[in-house]
Amino acid sequence: MFKKILIANRGEIALRVMRSCREMGIEVVAVFSEADRTAPHVLFADEAYLIGPAPSSESYLNHEKILTVAKASGAEAIHPGYGFLSENTDFARKVTESGMIFIGPPAAAINTMGDKTIARQSMLKTKVPVVPGTEEPIANIAEALAVAVKIGFPVLIKAAGGGGGKGMRIVHAAKEFESAVGKAQRESQSAFGDGRVYIEKYLEEPHHIEFQILADTHGNTIHLNERECSIQRRYQKVIEESPSPFIDEELRLKMGLAAVETAENCNYVGAGTVEFLVDKYKNFYFLEMNTRLQVEHPVTEMVTGIDLVAEQIRIASGQPLSFKQQDIKVTGHAVECRIYAEDAAQDFTPSTGEIVMLQIPDGAGTRFDGAIRQGMEITPYYDPLLGKLICWAKDRESALNRCERALREFYIGGIETTIQFCRSVIKHEVFRKGSYDTHFYAHFKEELHAELSASSEEVLLVAGGVLHHHRDQAKHQSHRSDSSRKGRSNWVTFQQGRNV
């Protein structure tokens, strides 16, 4: 087993990976940009190396610098987390060439699956159905538009080189097409260092369901059931759960087999996620495969009891999986809420500033994978994800009750967050029933935001009272400090001087 691992990432995922390493007795090396000198992943690592200025292109995406630091530290392997270099074939190859181990799939599998267009082509060899769309990245805007027209609007423009909703745009009509492609390309370039985008049919009323995969180097590939990820805003997941309230045992079996076939088709090794769209008739289509750890992986960990990061590390060190498909048992229900530094009331625009007060929920079945602390500055440089609240209980209803309770006791002061937005989703009758699809947010947007801004007379009185009190305090304080400051600096000093 490795003795030392470098984590080429920041934020909650760096801390998450660190935890599994420590539990396995492995030392952890952190890397950080100038903006992250006092970030939690630096404070709690065994070693930490500065790799460049704040912009990620000059730090967290800097292959050479990271490789140099890894060699200097004596790390035997590199864990890329998600985002940044996690799906970068080039980087994976360089790590191997430097004599270290890349904790992730072989470069060839990243190449096939990481590139969304090649992935779609490769899937044609299998029996797994694929969503209609372009087979190549967009090279020529006119040709691309012709394809879009042929498929029929609305279409999705998606990043070929990455996932997580970045570089993604929905286009409803031909006239919006060119501008949307431009935006998606720029966003992809900035997020993944790869500006290529492609087109996919936008299915209506679909469920976004994904299967967790684990494959070792000894030819064993298994799946760890599904995650339901249909609660999205801005094409980014906000709430995920497992099991999916939409999937029955028969469909689960079929999709699980398709997921394993997908992984085997590209000789996959490590942890990966096969994403499907499922329409309301329970037809499913392969969407893409994420060749890395997924943000929402803890949902699967909570119901299976398996530490996915520990498995990634064991697989990378050459060990076979210690369990078979039939050993995977799902216990209870888990739901995850992503806590972003965003102002839900202002169309989820990023919110920055100092966290002046922080109370993280805890207790039975309550897990927070985060990387924040009171007194910390949230900067505009990186992804706005502050962390993920994951609640587990013996059944779905109890898990949702627990989640509501945890969101109620979650307090982050000084910046805006999605805590209350998540709470209004969890409380929503349709979500409670489990009868939702990817249009949930668009459909209930008004209602959810009305719930957020609903103020009872009691709340108004509290708000008015606090403002009054605050202004009153400020007035008194400025009086007091004015006079005391002046006093200390001349009058009182003078008096004291006489007494001495």
Binding site: S190, M357, L460, L461, H470
Partner: protein
């Protein structure tokens, strides 16, 4: 002293009165005892008739508070302002609609216009990138671009003026 608490949906007449450490709040329906204590700078613990609330004051917008995690925006007018309003002054209309500032801190990657351009309400004005997301800022008014205070490629703080439209 008489006050008015306003939100876009509600308006409430109240009277605030200090009774040593406790604030007495009177509405037309009830009388409440209100006590606030600072927990951290800008964060108060409030007990109003023994109901407990944690309330944060927004460090940037003076009229925005966060009550048990729910953000609300309100206007608290005292007698002086209430009187001014009777004379025709409207506090809510004080902001200049044509002066567009950055609502988020970030990098301005593109500006679509130059000084002198005609713009219509809803036209894209500029792109601002923060936390890896590109945000398109649209014009809230129709008019002529009077001046542009920054150039593409510049990093701006929240509140920095970008474009003025008249």
């Amino acid at each position: 002293m008489k006050y008015e608490i306003n939100t876009p949906k509600h308006s409430l007449q109240v009277e605030f009165q200090f009774d040593s450490e406790t604030l007495i709040i009177k509405t037309d329906k009830e009388t409440l005892s209100f006590e606030a204590i600072q927990v951290q700078p800008g964060v108060y613990s409030v007990l109003m008739n023994n109901r407990s609330f944690v309330v944060g004051i927004c460090p940037i917008e003076a009229n925005r508070v966060n009550i048990n995690g729910t953000p609300i925006k309100l206007e608290l007018l005292d007698e002086v302002h209430l009187h001014l309003r009777q004379l025709g002054w409207d506090a809510l209309k004080e902001t200049k609609a044509g002066l567009i500032s950055a609502q988020i801190p970030g990098l301005v990657t593109k500006i679509f216009h130059s000084a002198g351009d005609q713009v219509k309400e809803g036209d894209p004005l500029f792109l601002i990138e923060a936390m890896k997301m590109e945000n398109e800022i649209k014009s809230p008014v129709s008019g002529v671009v009077k001046r542009i205070d920054i150039v593409a490629g510049q990093t701006v703080e929240k509140g920095t003026n970008i474009i003025e439209i008249v």
